[in-house]
Symmetry: C2
């Protein structure tokens, strides 16, 4: 393919005519495709439907899961998540249906009461800062913004966030209290942090004694291709480095069973967990144990979950492959866009030429293709180079997806040409 | 029955011998009965088990309840709770399994961000005070204590809390930001607030512009005898008084369907709800809509819920009657204890002679009968007269309950005699 920058204005204009014709054709069809959120498709949800067949709700230890109690989850659910997260059973709290709610709650409690080792509630300090590997997860950034936590952008590199920058920032500024990250199949780049990065995060010197890593391991078993990436166990790494209280780990079955009715869990050191349980006992009586029992009876252990995830991959793989094929066919070699080929997770992250992302997303929306708003992958919704776009290819059907990606690629090309013509 | 205070020391000592013998007999049986929490018994939980038979999870508007979304609940669940709470559909948020968590969250948000009309987050002010009708619900008090909210005891009277005191305290002190109450079949007294009290709470002048009533209507349909009490609609009363933002109303199906896996809801003015939804959208993606759909498909409307509650009453009534009978037989006319006969709710509240409650609860515990800790029904766990004990008669079987109440009555009599002898 010819690079756009090597085409003259006339050729670019002519090619833009073709693209605009294709665009108008699609627009005339009044399509409505949603690639905005990492949302499983209905066929993926059908995979777990048999877990609802359970007819008795007595837990292994005799607990009537229908009644009150069980603040930190039923023992068999704690065991399952301990296996999934590489934690001890008493380092785990199994909660309700939302890991983002667990993260929010942990941060809210830190703001109101501090964490173990805090000299004051974070909300009482003049300034709190979090390190935010970017592009990253918009919901993480929104929580920080709501609580007035200043976000510092840390660049994502090929093996994870810029660890030199993290060590420097956390090492020199006491106001830097945390880092929020998706360490495996990162949202949106699909990058899994290297062993070195995990070790350095676990071991680095931090100016704040109560520095915390919020480790949102949302895609722990969500491989797309082959056996997938593996992520070093940060709980163990922190223990070995003598910083066992440093990390809060989160995960959920939202993209294993049901996004709206899965179960979420967190893991941390025993002293972290014991402090959280004390506060949690005042916040609630207990999570939905019936739903926990449904999940444990159905999945039983990590091996079964991994088998189950292959069925998800069977549904998702063709969509990712189709999307990547179309991206290559339409944009490959043009030097106007660069994207990753993730081994797992839910996203394809694409960088356009600088200054094009917002326009591309708006143009795609006008043709009925809804994408995550441009900028959403950066703190405060501000992508400094206005180039990153997150594609979530899982929810549409394969046929819908192909059209949606084609429309998207047309928009990328048109806006790239517009930019290049202006610069000529 | 002869009043204890009219018996001479010798007669009291002799009678105490008999009581101690009965006590030691029970103690020798190594019983284990729990009357500590308002917890439905297994037969009550069986009443709702058919709701789990649902096989499709498509909502009325086509929503796939298995997937993400639906921040404020599915429309049909909002409709059901609107009917239950006497609210408009868009004044309702349907949440997860815990109303106490919704109350906690509302208070936590008020502390971090303020409520509509606040000049500052409550947590940034030098002092926040809540009015606490007492005896009251220990979980309410625990939330206040966790957030450092100063609790002011307001006495419960026969028709609700001392409204003169409330008007005075809320009217003169800007730091008084709220009142936390269970207005129907109050925990533990079983009192339903009169129309006058509801109207005066809704209409009173408050020094704080952002004063809030936290209206924990936990026992809205939980009648024990006959058609039960009725409670004036405080949402309407606040609207009529021009104070529509003043109240947050909460309820749940915890004691209608499953304590551990029911659904909770709140209602408030449209401006309160819209503010909460904005913050909630950052806290979570949505509640468990599958469980909401189970509930709505099963109960359909308020009339069916009311029919269903009669089945609960059929199970609970004999327990309350048996407990009340034994209290009368053992303690009636002795002038050492006074208790209510509630029309609904989950508790019998008993007042002993001053200074006896802690000793009675400890003595009952030593014979295997676990009660709510004495003092728990007051802020900071401190009952100024050490006399109030909450009996929760629902969880034990009828036979267990009869023994447990008998043991309890023996302890009340022994400790009363101990006190009277010391005073003679």
């Amino acid at each position: 393919m010819v690079k756009f920058c090597e085409m003259d204005s006339k050729a670019l204009r002519k090619y833009r005519e073709e693209l605009l014709k294709r665009y108008e054709d699609f627009k005339g069809q009044k399509l409505k495709y949603d690639m905005s959120r990492g949302k499983p498709c209905p066929e993926q949800l059908d995979l777990s439907i048999d877990m609802l067949d359970i007819t008795d709700y007595k837990g292994l230890d005799g607990t009537d899961c229908r009644n009150y109690g069980g603040l930190d989850g039923i023992p068999e659910a704690k065991q399952l998540f301990a296996e999934l997260l590489g934690a001890e059973k008493d380092e785990v709290i199994v909660g309700g249906n939302s890991s983002i709610n667990m993260i929010y709650d942990t941060i809210a409690r830190a703001m109101s009461f501090g964490v173990a080792g805090s000299e004051a509630p974070w909300g009482r300090l003049p300034k709190i800062k979090f390190l935010c590997p970017s592009p990253g997860y918009d919901r993480h950034f929104a929580i920080c913004e709501l609580f007035g936590i200043e976000m510092i952008v840390v660049d994502m590199k090929s093996a994870g966030p810029d660890i030199d920058a993290i060590e420097r920032l956390a090492g020199e500024d006491e106001a830097v209290k945390g880092i929020l990250c998706v360490p495996k199949y990162s949202n949106p780049d699909g990058i899994t942090y290297s062993e070195e990065i995990v070790d350095r995060l676990a071991g680095m010197k931090t100016k704040a004694k109560d520095f915390r890593i919020f480790w949102d391991n949302a895609y722990a078993v969500h491989h797309l291709f082959g056996k997938g990436d593996s992520l070093k166990n940060i709980l163990k790494a922190c223990k070995e480095a003598g910083n066992e209280d440093r990390v809060f780990v989160y995960t959920s079955t939202s993209k294993i069973s049901f996004p709206g009715a899965g179960i979420a869990a967190m893991a941390a050191s025993k002293s972290n967990i014991s402090r959280i349980k004390e506060q949690l006992s005042i916040q609630m009586i207990g999570p939905d144990k019936m739903n926990q029992l449904r999940h444990v009876r159905y999945f039983k252990n990590l091996k079964n979950i991994e088998e189950h995830m292959k069925k998800h991959a069977d549904i998702m793989q063709p969509k990712f492959l189709a999307a990547l094929d179309i991206l290559s066919a339409e944009l490959g070699g043009r030097e106007i866009a660069w994207w990753n080929k993730p081994n797992g997770g839910y996203f394809i992250s694409i960088n356009t030429l600088d200054g094009c992302a917002k326009k591309v997303v708006a143009m795609a929306a006008a043709a009925g293709v809804v994408m995550t708003p441009a900028g959403a992958t950066f703190p405060y919704g501000k992508d400094p180079r206005d180039r990153n776009i997150r594609i979530a290819p899982t929810f549409p059907s394969l046929d819908e997806l192909k059209e949606a990606i084609e429309i998207f690629c047309i928009c990328v090309q048109i806006e790239s040409i517009n930019k290049l013509l202006l610069e000529k």
